[in-house]
Symmetry: C2
Subunit: 153 residues, 2 copies
DNA sequence: AGCCAGTTTACAATCATTCTAAACAAGCCT
DNA sequence: AGGCTTGTTTAGAATGATTGTAAACTGGCT
């Protein structure tokens, strides 16, 4: 079976070499198992994209690896807890995991069910509420819901 | 700070009378059936709160009415489509329906799983992105995720 | 009164996600 | 290296919110 990792070798940035990923997983307190390394190689290569548990499973299968469904969920949750991924909730059907953990926001199109990043600083929150007693602000999620442009007007 | 909408008076005059609700349902293009009126009486009295399909079912049962589970979901979706409710997604386990359809945002505490409104204009978006081609902005959801206050810092 | 589209209902089905408990592998210890 | 311990993975079952289905019902018209 041919792992298709070579494909990103022409990329400018560090393609995830095994040592690097192993190290990152260790830093996150996660044992670098075959399964976690396979998923990390797909998701933590520095590119920003959105995957579902399902789409990731398909990619893994395509790459020739074999990872159980439950493990995919486990690893996605572990990566998210470790801050390697961000969970984005736009529907209550399923979750999307965002490989971009930097602070940014999303467009969501209900009709096509597509999620896209809102570029750069195109959303500016000029005012934030004070956190209630006993709590502090962990993160702020902005989801801009889109609708097809109405032709008439 | 009286950001209250006028219908929320402190007297029971805020109670929706049947005729009013019947009319509102008709305006929304919905036949005023016993089930829809029962749910409307609970949710459309001008108070702002968040319910789940489940919590609403419990309230209905307590009030002595009987409404099938599927109908509760149907009606919640119909009310939401008609703009009488707003659907808020904070987890992907279930949906919350917000009786406050005015533009406002939410605090969410993952540990206690509680959703609260962010008062008034405490969130100000000073900059919004342009909608992508063929789309227009339908709504903007801001969810401020909270965490228990850390003692340090 | 009677009709009919719109509604409701019970129940099954769906589907993402989590649980279970049994098999397995990583890393440490000697 | 062998063995141990604990963290991981696994298949399959379970969960739980939500939706589909097909039959029964009802609101509101004529």
């Amino acid at each position: 079976m041919q792992l298709n990792i070579s494909q990103n070798s022409h990329q400018k940035t560090a393609l995830p070499d095994a040592g690097d990923l192993t190290h990152r997983l260790r830093l996150a307190g996660l044992r670098p198992t075959r399964q976690r390394l396979a998923i990390a190689a797909l998701l933590l290569d520095g590119r920003h994209r959105h995957v579902t548990a399902d789409s990731l499973a398909a990619e893994i299968a395509e790459s020739g690896e074999r990872v159980a469904g439950a493990t995919i969920y486990n690893v996605l949750n572990q990566f998210t807890a470790a801050g390697l991924l961000r969970r984005v909730m736009v529907r209550n059907d399923y979750s999307l995991f965002d490989t971009n953990t930097a602070h940014h926001h999303h467009f969501y199109r209900p009709d096509t069910d597509q999620l896209t990043d809102i570029p750069g600083d195109d959303v500016v929150l000029s005012r934030l509420p004070a956190a209630p007693d006993g709590a502090e602000i962990a993160s702020v999620d902005v989801v801009v819901h889109l609708s097809p442009k109405s032709t008439s007007r």
